[in-house]
């Protein structure tokens, strides 16, 4: 396995108390595999990714338990300086909003070249040549002329391509893409996702795709992990989860996708609100919103049970859910 996150726990100290953002997340990614992490805002998907990258703001954040094993070593036991060297060359991250993720006062060429000067100690001219090469690779037209331009002179899709180029620059083994297409319009979304998937195949990288867009996931992901209240509630190969979800929350998510044959009808929505991370409900965190909830859900935390090969669900009634 390329990356294994085991029982990761992260909390944030706030003025009103301690918010438990991640409560025992376990997932793994193999080389060349795409894992989609799905969940609403506040479900802990981004925080888990930041903990893996080591860019969590600490304080207020704090990792209270678990392991993050990357290429055989536990990242949480490394010194900050050793972790820094892994960032960029071993694993890299693509952010949601490329405009705000690129420095407005530096030309894109300077920012791309920085990857090589920081990690490889290349000269300025070599780094610039590499930057042009990278821009070509992510199919930015007229790369040679545009290498000296500034981020605001590029369109949204082009900027996201530059972010991808930066992340890919040192051919890391793992890429974490945090909602990489959310800020783009639909046609550009597809192009950017295709590019990402293609580069991933070419370099045989592991990809963690964080998203709340089920449509994006279906095309590119191999496996899906659904998160709720800082926990993984269901993990499954992508086609199986669409066929028959084994957790009522996943079912709710799938039912809230707009469908053509339901035109004119009211769109389904999971009732209630995401839980307050300061006061996570007892037992199964989803029970106040769950249509299948029974007494046991209020008291007992459901374990992540094996449903079938490579498939797990954290629901007391996964069998009932699976059978509809």
């Amino acid at each position: 396995m390329l990356l294994e996150v085991r029982d990761l726990q992260v909390e944030f100290k706030t003025r009103d108390g301690i918010a438990k953002a991640v409560n025992g997340v376990t997932y793994s990614v193999a080389a060349g595999e795409t894992l989609a992490v799905l969940g609403e805002s506040g479900s802990g998907k981004s925080v888990t990714a930041q903990a893996v990258m080591g860019i969590l703001d600490m304080p207020p954040g704090r990792i209270t338990g678990g392991e993050i094993v990357f290429q055989g070593q536990d990242l949480l036991k490394l010194k900050e300086d050793e972790r820094r060297k892994i960032r960029g060359s071993g694993m890299a991250m693509i952010f949601q909003d490329a405009l705000s993720s690129l420095n407005p006062v530096l030309s894109v060429g300077a920012q791309l070249g920085e990857m090589y000067s920081v990690h490889r100690g290349m000269s300025r001219a070599d780094a610039k040549a590499k930057a042009v090469e990278l821009m070509d690779r992510v199919r930015i037209p007229a790369a040679k002329e545009r290498v000296g331009q500034y981020p605001h002179q590029f369109s949204g899709g082009m900027r996201q391509r530059i972010m991808i180029a930066m992340a890919m620059a040192l051919e890391p083994a793992l890429i974490i893409a945090d909602e990489p297409t959310t800020a783009l319009d639909v046609t550009v979304q597809a192009q950017v996702m295709d590019l990402l998937a293609e580069l991933q195949r070419e370099m045989n990288m592991g990809l963690i795709l964080i998203t709340h867009d089920l449509g994006v996931v279906a095309d590119v992901a191999d496996r899906i992990a659904v998160m709720y209240a800082g926990r993984i509630v269901e993990e499954a190969p992508v086609h199986e989860i669409y066929k028959a979800p084994a957790h009522p929350y996943t079912r709710g998510l799938l039912d809230s996708i707009p469908r053509l044959d339901q035109k004119g009808q009211e769109l389904y929505a999971i009732k209630g609100l995401p839980p307050n991370l300061m006061h996570i409900p007892s037992g199964c965190a989803f029970h106040p919103r769950c249509p299948m909830a029974q007494d046991v859900c209020r008291t007992d935390v459901p374990p992540l049970a094996n449903v079938s090969e490579g498939r797990r669900s954290a629901c007391h009634f996964w069998k009932e859910c699976l059978n509809g």
């Binding site: 990258m53 860019i55 207020p60 820094r84 060297k85 892994i86 960032r87 960029g88 060359s89 890299a92 991250m93 952010f95 909003d97 705000s100 993720s101 690129l102 420095n103 407005p104 006062v105 530096l106 030309s107 920085e114 990857m115 920081v118 990690h119 037209p141 007229a142 002329e145 545009r146 000296g148 331009q149 500034y150 981020p151 605001h152 002179q153 590029f154 369109s155 972010m163 930066m166 992340a167």
Partner: protein, 339 residues
């Protein structure tokens, strides 16, 4: 989360013509907001075809390039720039326009008005007012520029580091700036400088740097905190940048604009502060030539010989105004949102 106990983020407007001292200037806007505004402004105003309108052949423009273009078109900048250029030239080579010696005086001509060859007349000691006014520019410009450089250097380094690392040092620095803000400038000057015997400009500059740096430190701290929260800093971190690289390459260039603006406007107030201290007799002392000293000496004779007061006072007013106008123009160029 930054504590909202400081005003650096909130107060956006920098007041133009201020009184004496630090209190006259409100800190100016936040780094990130500015940058965004500048990039948006650039996209909207100058590339009618949208962000792609420049095409591959378009000349790359940087933030500073844009600001410079704005400045060159601004008449306020041109006027104040010419005045300042003139002041700098005559403070470097005063003999270019004044051939006399400011310290050569003839008591028999005391308080006389305008004469051929002596357009501004004579002062109470019989010295040529024109020559003294010209030579006084050197003192004012030296004090203004050196104080501003010192203040900007100390203030932005200390404030920037505090903002970047946060925690205990930040809290300590913030309290220290609070203490310095509590010291009344003129009173502090009377106390500190009255024990100084040196007649050079350096004790005055040192004192003004001592009291001036917290103002810049606050602004630098605030704008570093704002710049630090930008996604591109996080992104740089995620791609393996070191602390120093993040600070110098990603944060500093995006946080420096407010510091430049406030420092430029403050330069004018430092000049008038030097004049104030000299007027009170604790700043520069004769035989230094300073507008403040001349104004002080002339003030007793204002009814008999007003020209002795009006020329140095007028020069002082024009100089201070020019620097404040320059500061305003720079602020407009770096923060188009305020227009």
């Amino acid at each position: 989360m930054p504590e909202p106990d400081f005003d650096e983020g909130a107060a956006i407007s920098a007041t133009g013509a201020g009184g004496v001292g630090q209190g006259a200037i409100a800190p100016t806007g936040t780094g990130a907001a500015m940058d965004l505004a500048i990039s948006e402004g650039a996209t909207l105003e100058r590339t009618p075809g949208g962000p792609e309108g420049t095409g591959p052949a378009g000349k790359p423009r940087s933030l500073w390039g844009d600001a410079w273009r704005d400045l060159r078109r601004n008449p306020v900048f041109i006027v104040s720039g010419l005045i300042i250029l003139f002041l700098v030239v005559i403070s470097l080579w005063p003999s270019l326009i004044a051939s006399g010696n400011p310290l050569k005086c003839d008591l028999s001509k005391a308080q006389l008005g305008s004469r051929p060859g002596h357009p501004f007349g004579y002062d109470g000691q019989g010295c040529d007012v024109y020559t003294r006014t010209v030579y006084g520019a050197r003192t004012s410009v030296t004090v203004g520029v050196c104080t501003t450089l010192g203040v900007a250097l100390f203030g932005s380094v200390l404030g920037g580091l505090a903002g970047f690392f946060g925690g205990g040092w930040d809290a300590l620095l913030s309290r220290i700036t609070d203490i310095f803000f509590g010291i009344p400038v003129v009173l502090g000057g009377l106390v500190f400088l009255s024990v100084v015997t040196s007649t050079t400009v350096w004790p005055v500059i040192g004192f003004m740097v001592l009291l001036g740096w917290p103002q810049i430190a606050r602004i630098a701290r605030g704008s570093v905190i704002t710049a630090k929260q930008n996604d591109y800093v996080q992104a740089a971190r995620a791609l393996g940048a070191t602390n120093s690289r993040m600070l110098l390459r990603h944060i500093a260039p995006n946080a420096v604009a407010p510091v430049i603006v406030v420092a430029t406007i403050a330069l004018g107030t430092y000049i008038s502060l030097e004049a104030t201290l000299s007027y009170l007799g604790v700043g520069l002392k004769p035989p230094s030539v300073s507008w403040g000293i001349d104004i002080s000496a002339a003030s007793q004779y204002i009814r008999n010989a007003p020209h002795m007061l009006l020329w140095p006072a007028g020069a002082l007013a024009v100089t201070v105004l020019a620097f404040i106008m320059l500061g305003d123009a720079v602020r407009d160029a770096l923060d188009p949102k305020l227009r």
